[in-house]
Structures are given as C-alpha cells and as structure tokens.
C-alpha cells in the first residue's frame, strides 16, 4: 500500500509530543544507522532504532507505538553516546513508552476516592503511592 504523505503528518501533534517528552529533534536524524549498529539488544527488536526514527519522520507513530522495540531498549545509552547528530534514541524510547503507558492507563485502575482507611493503614505507604503513580496515568 502507498503511504500518502501530507503536510500534517511530518509535524503532527503526536510527533510534537515525542519531541517535547524526549527533548529530541526527530528531523535532526540523518539516518546514518549508527544507533542501530551499536545497540546491544538490536537482535531482539522488531524495528531497528534508526527505522523507528524514520517512521516518526514519516508520521507513522502508531506503528512505532505497537512495536516490540520500545520495550526491548535497555536504556544503556549506547545509541545516544554514538549518534553524530546528538539524537538520543534512548530518550525517544522513554518518551514512546511513556505515551503507551498513558494511553493504556487512560482509565484509572485504582479508585483513589474508594481507598478505605483499613487499606490505607495496612498497605505500606510506598506501595499506595506507587500504585497510584504506576496504575493511574
């Protein structure tokens, strides 16, 4: 199938969000592939890091969000340390994961108002805070 590129896709809101969350410029990447070449877990990825960025450049965020890659990235920062354009793929991965998490957690799993006194006193304080943070987007 042909991909119909439109003006909106190159700089669509979702891509903007990735840039804001990661602090990286997507169009700065010139596709040299160095990030992918050096990544220690690239074998386990379904889309290699440089291609993830290329797909973002082409506005294909959905494809990227459903990839295995973003969960495989070990945040070792190998890619970031080697990129000749100063693009930190690891940070882009962080941003993509955060976006997925927020989508998944759009409906809160923990009803904060419904927490009983008993639960509050029985459960460790850290656990309650953690549950609210991790399970409620």
């Amino acid at each position: 199938m042909r991909l119909r590129l439109t003006a909106g896709m190159v700089k669509d809101e979702a891509i903007d969000r990735v840039e804001t969350l990661s602090g990286q410029s997507i169009l700065a990447c010139y596709q040299c592939g160095r990030c992918s070449a050096g990544c220690p877990v690239v074998e386990e990825m379904d889309i290699i890091p440089s291609e993830v960025i290329r797909l973002l450049q082409l506005g294909q965020i959905d494809e990227v969000l459903s990839s295995k890659t973003i969960w495989t990235c070990a945040s070792c920062l190998q890619c970031a340390s080697r990129c000749p354009k100063g693009v930190e793929f690891s940070s882009i991965c962080d941003a993509l994961r955060a976006i997925v998490l927020r989508i998944r957690l759009a409906t809160p799993k923990v009803d904060a108002d419904g927490l009983t006194k008993v639960m509050m006193s029985d459960a460790p304080q850290m656990g309650v805070v953690g549950a609210l943070r991790k399970l409620n987007g």
């Binding site: 199938m1 042909r2 991909l3 119909r4 590129l5 439109t6 003006a7 190159v10 700089k11 410029s25 169009l27 700065a28 010139y30 596709q31 291609e51 290329r54 797909l55 450049q57 082409l58 294909q60």
Partner: protein, 653 residues
Amino acid sequence: MEERIGVFVCHCGTNIAGVVDVKRVAEELADYPGVAYSTDYTYMCSDPGQNLVKDAIKKHNLTGVIVAACSPTLHEATFRRAGMTAGMNQYQVEIANIREQCSWVHQGDKEAATSKAIRTIKVMIEKARLDEALEPISVPMTPRALVVGGGIAGIQAALDVANAGHEVILVEKSASIGGHMAQLSETFPTLDCSQCIMTPKMVEVAQHPKIRLMTYSEVDDVSGYVGNFKVKIRKKAAYVNRDVCTGCGLCVEKCPAKTPSEFDEQLADRKAIYTPFPQAVPNKPVLDAEHCTYFLKDGKCGICAKVCPLDCIDYEQKDEFIEEEVGAIIVATGYDLYPIENLGEYGGGKYADVITSLQFERMLSASGPTGGEVLRPSDGEVPSEVVFLTCCGSRDTENHLPYCSKICCMYLTKHAMLYRHKVHDGQAYVFYMDVRTGGKGYEEFYTRAAEEDDVLYIRGKVSKIFEEDGRVMVWGVDTLSGRKIEIAADMAVLGLATVPNEAAAKLASMLKIHTDEWGFLSEAHPKLRPVESLTPGFYLAGSAQGPKDIPESVAQASAAASKVAALFAETEYHREPVIAVIDEDTCAGCRVCISVCPYDAAEFDDEKKVARIKEAICEGCGACIAACPSGSAQQKNLTDEQLYKMVSAALEV
C-alpha cells in the same frame, strides 16, 4: 663530432631500485658506444642529484644527457633546466622512463625489468645522438584579452585581467551581462541576495577604462594563435542606437508587442523592444525583430521610433562586424538547464505546476514575475505542499546524462528553505538519492533546512508525476523505511541537470578547442591544468567547463585571469620547438599535410608550390609527418632517421 653522452640512473628510493638492478644498468651502459659517463643515484631529482648531473656535464664535456627515471611529464623540465644551467642545450637532455614503464609494471620480474630498462635507455641514447640543439620559438604577444560570455565567470575574469593592467574585450550574446546569476533570488549557503552582490561588479565592468563591453554581440571568427589571435565580432542589429540611448524606457513602455520573457523563464511577458531586467548593464533596450510588429507587418506600428525623444530607433540598422587582435581568449559561455520536456515521466512541459528550478528561482526573486511570492502557475494560489526533485536528468546513464550536476542538491535545499520562509505553514519535501553538499558551509546549510525548516528529505527517486483533482500526484519510495510514498502536492520543482550553453558547442568548434562528450569545455589536465584548454592561448572559466556554483565559477575565472596576466607579463611568448618542418626541396606540394593538420598549422606557399609549417601554431602532433607521402615532413628531434635507430635499439637488431 664524437658524441659524449651521460647516463644518470635514478633509484627513486625503492620505486625503481626495488625492482630494477640500477647498478647493473649503469655499469652495462658505461660500455655502450658513445657513452662517456654512467652512474646511478638515489634521488636524481633532489638538489644533490641535479648537481651530480650538472657537474658531470661540465667535467666530461657531455653532448647529450639521458636521465633514466620517472615519466618525462614529471621531471623533464627539471632536468632540462639543470642541463641549461650547466651550459647544455636543453633539447639535448632526454628522459628514459624506467619507473612507470619498467619497475612499476614489471614488479614480479626483476630480470625482465632490468633488461627492459637497459634497452629503454639505449633507445634514448640513439635519439640523443642525433638530437639537434634547438631554441624555443618566440612569438610576439598582443597583451589584450577576449572574454566570451558575460556571466559571473566572464565578469570576474574580465575585471581581474583589466585590473592587472591589460585591455579586455568582453563579448556577451544577450542584451545584458549577468548570465544566470542575475536571475537568482538569494544564494546558498549564506542567502545573500544575488542581485545585490552582483550589480556592483556589473557596473564596474561597464565603467572600467580597460574593458570594452560588447553586449548583444557574438564572436564570428577566430584565426591565429596564442599571442596573436584575430577575432571577428558581430554586433547584432539592436535597431536602437545604443550609444545615444539613455535608457529612458519610453519605447519599452509604449511597445504593444509582447512575447514570453527569457529572463523570467517564460513566467511573464516582455515587450518586443526590451531591457532584460531592471538592473541590466547596459541599461539600454534592444529590439527583437522576430516579435516586433513593425518587422512582422511591413512597417505597421513604429511606435517606439515615434516616442523616442532622442531618435535612437533605427529599423534599418544592420549587423556590424568588428575585427580585433587579442593575445588570449577566456571562454566563459556558461550553462543551461536540461530541457524539462525531456522528463516526460514527470509531466515536464505538460503540467503547468511542474516547473523548472530556474522558474522557481524567478518566483522567489523580489523583482520576479510574482514579486517574490510563491504562486502556483496554474491558478495563482499559494501552494501548501511543494515537492522538490533532485537529479532530474542527472546520474541516469540509461535515459539521460551520467554525470552529477553538482549544484542542484544545494539549490533545491535553498528552494525548500526559502519556500518555508515565505509560506510558514507550507510543507517542503525533497526526494533525493544522495544529498551532495561539498562546499564550505554547505552541510550546515542542509542541516538547517532539515532541522529548522522541517524540510522532509525522502530517499528515493520519484518514479512518476501525474495530475489528479488539480494537484500533482508524486509517486516515489522511501528506501530508508521501504515505504512506497504518494504525495498530492500543489507544485513540483525539478532540479534539472546542468548542460553546456547551447551556443557553446558551435563556439568551441570554431575556436578549435576540445569539449567532452557532453559539450563541456575540456581542460588541459584534469588536476594540474584545470583552467586552460589544450590549445594554447585559450582559458576556461565557470560552468562552461562543467557544473559549478558561484564561488567555484569565480575562483576559476580569477585563476584563468591570472594565467592570462602571466602570459602577458612577457612581450614574447615562447613555444616548444619540437614541431614539424617541411623539406622544401622534396615536398611535392600534394597538400596532404594541410588537410590532416588539426590545428591549421600547415599552409601552402603559392609561389614555391610547397607546403610550409607555421611555427607559431604547430603543436608537434605528428599528423602531417605520418601522412606526408614523400617523407618531406619531419619532426624536429624525432626524425625518421632517429625513429629508425630508436626502434632498432628497442628490438636489438
């Protein structure tokens, strides 16, 4: 006189000595008839090496010298100079090439290389035995230059030669100087306005006391040779007395006849009587008879003549011919774009919204047909998506031209950037195969386009463009992601290949200077003599020699000018005397030599009925010598007798 020949065998470090047994070579040749001295040395071209040669010449009173070393193109001049300082005639110093032709090509067989080296030297000894003492030929020099083509290259060359104190005639075929640079909006990589940096130079040309500017003129004929060319220049009938005209423009304003403007790349009309652009130099109109009502309809109209306050219009004006003598010619005839019609797969010439890069350039120009606004030609709307295509006709060995046009990656990047500066919410796409940014500040410029102006570079060559619902549909692929891409764009700009100016081929054949198979002027040596033609006295400047941007065109123009200034520094020009000579006693007057000489150097003496060689023109190519049926044509220091002895030595017979 008994000849006394010296043989100097060079080791060239291990370049020669690593393969050829140089000691044995020197020893064996010491016993060869006529050899008075033979030795070897590590680096003969070094100062001590040259001194060794010089001392031996004096000590052994040598009559000939053979330096067995590298190719004569490298050090023949070095050793001839050394010979001269030691009191020898330089043309009796010869090189035997035992590096490129022995050690380098026979590395695996030392014995064969050594015996070949010995024979190679013997061949040159046989030549040297009969070498005559020759003197360089002096020809008088006319220190005036002709520059053909008034683009930025021609302008720069003319100014530099003139500022070196020499007269210059600058011939430009169109009504104004400026060439393509005058059409440009802003220029990469600094985005300064093209007109602003160019007009001062154009004005300087017009006002320079040493420059005679001849616009609307062409070179019709050139004869002669370096230092002494005779040129015939045709001043085309402008039907305007341009010496009197003040450029008031009344005639242009009132003229009723219109035709598409060449300067505006057909995006707007001009009048039949016109100045190509407001900053034209000279800022005086010419009348284009092909589109003028007066000429087309037998004298109907004549408005311009009526309105001209100075009576400058002259419908009877004829082409005028001017003959001049010059010593050197700089060719700066520039380039054109590959015809857009040749790109049928992109709808070139068929779809209004598929345009050439120069058309886009005119659109971007503040003084252009749209006043600097980017507007779709079909409906005048501001395009919200524009696709730029690189390599249109370039780098395509099968269907178009094989070479890279060099400037298009950069100017399309500039276009995409300037489009975004004018249409802030517009999207620019550039389809590319490689983005070539070889130049100072160029890569940074490209990076800026991608990062700051959100230009999306898509790696792949567009396959086709077609119209659909009033838009141009672009089909390509992004080879980086493997995605097939489709863009419904408002406009497509083609980065068409650079080709030599149409008029240049005709000119080159008249000037008898070489061009490559595409019509670009050929340089004498691709690396070491890039600004001169193989034919002496001709110099090359700008994009006529190959695709070039402005800085490169200017650099080459200045280089050509400095070559000319160096040539003019002497009142006489010295040429190699190793040329043809005809024996008048045996010449049968068959004129075969005249018909074969590629340089027109052989002429016929009607009185004596024999052929003669013009010393100042003959290049010593040998064509006539091979052709002459009576053996009357001989090459100096390469006579038949010498060749016979050399071949015998080579074959050891």
